[in-house]
Symmetry: C2
Subunit: 404 residues, 2 copies
């Protein structure tokens, strides 16, 4: 073989920036605040063991056979029952992780060059899933409450959809307020702009449930993506989407072409685990754990970053916190130094679709590391930052001396 | 929402012809020779139950966490060890069923309008997987030994690849001979034409193993797709591909964008099941069962179709047999009548990429139904056919009388 002639879309594919960054963070002895890995303490291992045994004993042959592309009927029903609006199970499509929902949406809605609106910043995995269909992503200005409605309206025309992550967003941890949801929903409907609502973290609220999903307000204008990764376990790759009748058949055809169906064994496992109201007992334990770890991280940042010009938020749920370091700091350059001191984070810039990312930002996960590890890691991050600031100040003095 | 503006590729998606056909075959009381469902008797249910318990006991947290996009290391090693040529595990990518391998290949190699060569007839699922990337499929003339080399050479120019299923092909059950493999491999290499080799059935040989894969003859010019669906269970959706260094990174990036990774729990289950040489004991039992059922079907066809102009092959492995009914019969029209008599099959015409399918052909699966069911089903099929022939003959007499 002399040459492999690739598709144009493949020529444009690049290794994930984030993935390359995270390679350096995966070393032994590093406390990682980088990845979005749920705490393994939250995995209901023994409940899964019981469920596997039951499924194989009672329905072994069916659990190992080919199955329907739409997903396992009882799981589709369970999803419909879980959601806080009136969902017909016929509109639920089980996916191999919610990431696959993004791939199917891209296949069905994006032509090369299609405008696709995203938050500023947005989930990098969505940009990667949409990428092969070659859209033109357009960042909508956003504040602490989510996308800014005026900018959404200004950019809606000729856009295929807006991709939104209203609850405890990845990467910022922010939540779209009720007032903003009302306004965004109305604006999208007025502009005939579909909303792709991604809600992997919505159940991980700490004090009170977030406002109603956007999809609940206008089901015919939205595709809703959900996941079992954060309430049960990511290693099963089980997610779902809910789509209106106008678009569901195309998503189903795309799903069938991609992998025929999501593994039926894991679908049945999850139905078995969830029976008798398991999630209602289990999810509060995850919320309590992550809330303690968020508290530990905000306390550690307050303590360790004292006197430095560092801002950060205190998300009311989810997995991630967003911070901004003093002027002049570039978190991409800071990362290797932090890793030397034993802590990893994710620089914020890659999460901006327009390439105009703020170099001072970073994402911190508070779910994987324990409270003690969080304390150690934030202290190490602060030491790294102080050293960098001292180094930058010294360099500045040197430059000034050299100039006089 | 007034309208959902869809991507051009989605506008062209149609419900699977086969899927629509199979809906009528899925009724209670019907013996289906239609679907490609492995016999559930072959599923090692208790071995899976033991494996689930072991994996969750020993590695529960890791088995439920996010994992590498490339796949689980020991599974990649096991795949490399299984294959009959020297494979570096670094070139193995674990997929969510081998169908997903086709989706990734399409994303990386097909531009809209790209020529893609396929067999006559070919696997319908491959046409569906390639479809969203909008290729122009071109059928290469084929005989009982596979694609005809002269026609392959004539059509190779400006084609992105040729998709081949050399062992016990779906739908025809035919196997590419050693001589044909040598010639096809040489012709593809000379034309710098990549081969996508799909081998889901290769282990299901009855008397002797098929010739070496095409990929073994020129690993740098081929992507090889394999599956655990037929030797363990399809409900896990576990497959793999082996790709040369020139193209592997792009396939990996596409995989990561699609679903991050294949479920790690099922990957670990399969590694656990396969330890201690399980497949070497298990697969021969599948071969023996399917061989008995193939024998039953050829015997039943010989007996029941006596005196009718029906031809069929006797595949030396796999799951499918290919038959051709007398002149004037259209198997699409015959199917509902067969279903009325309690037997279902798949008409052959949809498997032809160029739409010029032979209406007299049909595919019969000999793996799902038992020997007794096969006997009953083939008798019912013969009765349906005799009735149709009698009806057609009577209609012809009527027409001739009317014309005199």
């Amino acid at each position: 073989m002399k040459t492999w002639k690739m598709a144009a879309r493949a020529e444009k594919m690049n290794p994930s920036v984030l993935r390359e960054i995270l390679k350096v963070t995966d070393l032994p002895g590093i406390i990682s605040l980088a990845g979005g890995l749920p705490s393994p303490k939250t995995f209901p291992i023994s409940a899964f063991a019981d469920a596997c045994a039951e499924v194989l004993k009672n329905d072994g042959a069916a659990a190992l056979q080919y199955a329907a592309s739409e997903g396992y009927g009882p799981l589709r029903q369970a999803v419909a029952d879980m959601l806080p609006w009136n969902v017909d199970p016929a509109q639920v499509l089980i996916t191999t992780g919610s990431q696959q929902g993004l791939d199917l949406v891209a296949k069905v809605l994006i032509d090369p060059g299609s405008r696709v609106l995203v938050e500023t910043p947005t989930y990098l995995g969505a940009l990667q899933a949409f990428g092969p269909m070659e859209p033109t992503p357009v960042s909508v200005a956003s504040d602490d409450e989510g996308v800014i409605v005026e900018d959404l309206i200004a950019k809606a025309k000729d856009s295929r959809f807006i991709y939104l992550l209203p609850n405890f967003q990845n990467p910022t941890g922010r939540t779209m307020s009720e007032a903003r949801r009302v306004a965004v929903s109305a604006a999208a409907e007025a502009a005939d702009l579909p909303i792709i609502e991604d809600n992997p973290y919505g159940d991980l609220w700490f004090d009170e449930a977030p406002p109603l999903p956007l999809t609940a307000r206008n089901p015919e204008g939205c595709i809703y993506l959900g996941s079992f990764s954060k309430v049960l376990a990511p290693g099963l790759r089980l997610g779902f989407l809910v789509a209106p009748k106008a678009i569901y058949p195309k998503l189903l055809q795309a799903k069938q072409a991609v992998d025929l169906h999501t593994p039926i064994f894991t679908q049945r496992m999850v139905v078995e685990v969830m029976k008798d109201g398991f999630l209602a007992r289990h999810v509060p334990t995850i919320r309590a754990l992550y809330k303690r770890q968020r508290d530990a991280m905000t306390a550690a940042l307050t303590r360790e970053m004292k006197g430095l010009d560092v801002t950060f938020n205190a998300p009311v749920g989810g997995m991630f916190m967003w911070a901004r370091l003093p002027e002049g700091i570039d978190t991409v350059k800071l990362l290797p130094k932090a890793v030397e001191r034993g802590v990893a984070f994710v620089p914020g810039a890659p999460f901006y679709a327009d390439g105009q990312g703020d170099p001072r930002t970073l994402r911190l996960s508070f779910v994987t590391a324990s409270v003690d590890e969080i304390d150690t890691a934030i202290a190490a991050l602060a030491a790294t930052l102080r050293e960098q600031l001292a180094h930058d100040a010294a360099a500045k003095v040197q430059r000034e001396l050299a100039a006089t």
